[in-house]
């Protein structure tokens, strides 16, 4: 019962078969005993204490626009996530074409500091979790199949924190991607009505009385 028969997710396994680009064995992600103790804030602390620079994907180059929320490293992780979640093709634009990572940066800069901190912790753990599992390539350095496999493994994990993390990252990227009007044609969404679909233009220049004049009528009940 996979979610698309046109794409190969075997019914017997919720996880994709391990591909050459995989850097995290499925059995590691699905073993509570290995990951359970690291699932919460402990994982973030551990990620922060490891000498990660020696295992990184290389120094992150800052994008050619000012980042409002992400560090260059975080931006690189999110940009890679965008490639995985909405790679484009089949008539759809790629998330990179829509600057989804940049839109995420702008959106997150407006949210409350608790959410911002959680996102930073999540991105840190997500980027470096392969290293915690004794693999040598962080997420953003993985190939296309490996990166998709890794994200899917998080989603399918019995560890709550990983599942929740994958869901949050998916919501963020897919939510921004499909909010962009340039993604609509590929799914057949017809778009907004204002000024396009025969309904009155809501961006009113006048302020007529409300259609419901109950506002100013006396209630005699």
């Amino acid at each position: 019962m996979g979610w698309s028969r046109r794409h190969s997710t075997p019914a017997s396994s919720p996880l994709p078969a391990r591909a050459a680009g995989d850097v995290i064995p499925r059995e590691l992600v699905t073993r509570r005993s290995v990951l359970g103790g690291l699932a919460g804030g402990g994982a973030a602390l551990l990620a922060g204490s490891l000498p990660l620079s020696g295992c990184s994907a290389g120094p992150a180059e800052a994008p050619d626009f000012p980042l409002r929320f992400f560090s260059p490293e975080e931006y690189r992780t999110v940009a890679r996530l965008c490639d995985v979640i909405a790679p484009g093709g089949h008539g759809a634009p790629a998330a990179a074409d829509l600057a989804v990572a940049r839109q995420a940066d702008a959106l997150l800069a407006t949210l409350n500091p608790d959410i911002q901190e959680q996102v930073r912790q999540l991105l840190s753990v997500f980027e470096h979790w392969p290293i915690l599992a004794l693999q040598w390539r962080p997420f953003s350095a993985q190939g296309a199949e490996g990166a998709l496999s890794y994200l899917t493994a998080w989603q399918q994990s019995p560890v709550t924190t990983l599942r929740v993390g994958a869901a949050a990252l998916g919501r963020l990227i897919a939510g921004i991607y499909y909010a962009d009007s340039r993604s609509w044609e590929a799914i057949g969404y017809e778009g907004v009505w204002i000024g396009t679909r025969g309904a009155p233009d809501g961006a009113g220049k006048d302020w007529p009385d409300l259609v419901n004049n109950n506002v100013y009528r006396k209630f005699n009940g």
Partner: protein, 518 residues
């Protein structure tokens, strides 16, 4: 020069964009302008009191409403719709604008359920709030909001699918009552109505309050309530000048204060100030109507984004006011829909390619196991809520019934946003839902209805406010929003909140000297 109408954002009664610190005085300060706050303000102003409404969110009008999720979710939703429970498992949606959540709701109107009101009296000692007691306030709320039944010509294809399936199964469903007038059926209610046809409180009760002399301060955050003995003497915070981006000190002195920020912001404000919590109940008893979407893929084109977003429902609530669920047809935009699909890459795209063949509904559980609201070290509300039994079983029961309805309606397959990425095509598939894992992060759940956290009752040891909304601990502090519900309501709450606010206002006006401390 023609006077501006009271629903115009530049009306002189709207206090905004000050150049420096601002200090106001009033009889009553109402903090929050959603279904509770704006109603209370209008009723008290109509009763002759000098009222100031304070709203931390912006004053968004139809001129600002673009129907685009990208623009409107950051503008109307708290934290752009990204707020979740502490464990990240459940999206927590509520409004952040003048009019509160009513600006982004789907305008569903249910009268307060008799069985729930009876339970509040019998189980929690709520007095004077029976169906008969509330009848005059309910009548007025329905009048001002223009409540009426959805008409036959307003039934969209998304609802038709659910109606067809329910009828085949012999289920008794109905179309909703709603508060829209001459709806154009554009389908963008959750992004705010661009045509002022949805009778949100920001175009009904807020201008009604202004027409009776109230004032409104948007973009104004109250974070401190200062005591003078057993009375709140003043509230302080900051007001934003939208032109410069600066925030200036804001202070308001009033004889009475009503907190109406909703069941998350209201307890957060009280807890931050250490107020009204001798019972230890502030922030506890959070109910959220956990909601689980179900999507059918139909062979025929549905275009479920078209038309009134919520038209039809099936009632499976417990008849004694305990447990059960509603199944409500619902639509969504591409961003909300895409964000809920638990798939990536080509699978995500292939799923979303079916967008125009989706039919959507949601299981709305009347929860019986509460969560809580606390405040983080940074002063941000923290929502703790984990789906427990029997509520998880309620959701599974709802998923199953909804899947059966869709299959009876001819769905090619049914999807539940869940990490198992399962399709349900047969009764054997549907039977498996009975054991579906609903632990955090497994299923896509959200809440649009938060209740409880400052429950009412006559026992000061077990409740935060009395049956008229007044805090037991303080002489001039009221809570007037869904926070006061002693239990989950089971139905969409805007009419119950509006009715209770009207009812509270009538009680307050009955004894003005006590209210004003004179």
């Amino acid at each position: 020069m023609k006077a501006l109408p009271f629903h115009h954002p530049e009306h002189p009664a709207v206090v905004r964009d000050p150049a420096g610190p601002l200090t106001l005085e009033a009889d009553v300060c109402v903090i929050g302008t959603g279904a509770g706050g704006s109603t209370l303000a209008a009723e008290l102003a109509e009763g002759g009191l000098d009222v100031v409404m304070v709203e931390k969110g912006p004053y968004v009008t139809r001129a600002d409403m673009t129907q685009r999720e990208r623009d409107m979710m950051p503008l109307l939703f708290e934290d752009a719709g990204a707020r979740t429970t502490r464990d990240g498992a459940i999206l927590v949606w509520h409004g952040h604008a003048v009019g509160g959540t009513t600006v982004l709701n789907n305008a569903i109107c249910f009268d307060p359920p008799d069985a729930v009101l009876a339970r509040w009296k019998a189980g929690f000692g709520v007095e004077g709030a029976s169906k008969a007691d509330l009848a005059p306030s309910l009548a007025k709320a329905r009048f001002v909001l223009g409540v009426q039944k959805i008409q036959e010509h307003e039934i969209n294809r998304n609802a038709e699918v659910m109606m067809r399936g329910a009828r085949k199964l012999g289920l008794k469903g109905d179309v909703f009552e709603h508060n829209r007038i001459a709806c154009l059926q554009s389908g963008f209610c959750m992004m705010g109505c661009s045509y002022d046809r949805k009778q949100n409180h920001h175009i009904t009760y807020v201008p009604r309050a202004l027409s009776f002399g109230a004032r409104l301060c948007p973009d104004t955050l109250i974070d401190k309530l200062e005591l003078d003995g057993r009375r709140i003497a003043r509230a302080t915070g900051s007001i934003k000048n939208r032109k410069t981006g600066e925030r200036h000190p804001f202070e308001i002195r009033a004889r009475a204060f009503a907190v109406a920020g909703g069941a998350i912001s209201t307890p957060a404000l009280l807890l931050s100030n250490g107020l009204a919590d001798s019972s230890g109940q502030v922030g506890r008893n959070l109910w959220i109507h956990p909601a689980g979407p179900v999507v059918a893929i139909m062979d025929e084109e549905i275009r479920y984004n078209r038309g009134i977003p919520q038209v039809y429902f099936v009632d499976a609530l417990g008849k004694d006011g305990v447990g059960g669920f509603l199944l409500e047809a619902i639509t969504g935009g591409p961003s909300q829909t895409g964000g809920m699909v638990p798939a990536f890459g080509n699978v995500l795209h292939a799923t979303m390619k079916e967008f125009n063949h989706f039919a959507g509904a949601v299981v709305l559980a009347k929860d019986e196991r509460p969560g809580s609201v606390t405040v983080s070290a940074r002063g941000v509300p923290v929502v703790d809520y984990v789906l427990q039994e029997p509520d998880a079983t309620t959701i599974r029961d709802g998923y199953q019934l909804m899947a059966r309805i869709y299959l009876a309606a001819g769905a090619r397959q049914v999807m539940i946003p869940h990490v198992n990425r399962a399709y349900y095509r047969t009764e054997a598939d549907v039977a498996k839902i009975a054991s579906l894992d609903l632990s955090p992060g497994s299923a896509g759940l959200y809440t649009g209805h938060q209740m409880g956290t400052c429950r009412m009752g006559e026992d000061p040891g077990k409740s935060v406010v009395d049956s008229g909304g007044k805090a037991h601990d303080l002489a001039n502090l009221y809570v007037v929003d869904s926070s006061v519900f002693p239990t989950s309501l089971g139905v969409n709450p805007q009419i119950t909140i509006t009715t209770l606010a009207t009812h509270f206002a009538r009680r307050m006006l009955r004894d003005k000297p006590k209210l004003l401390g004179t």
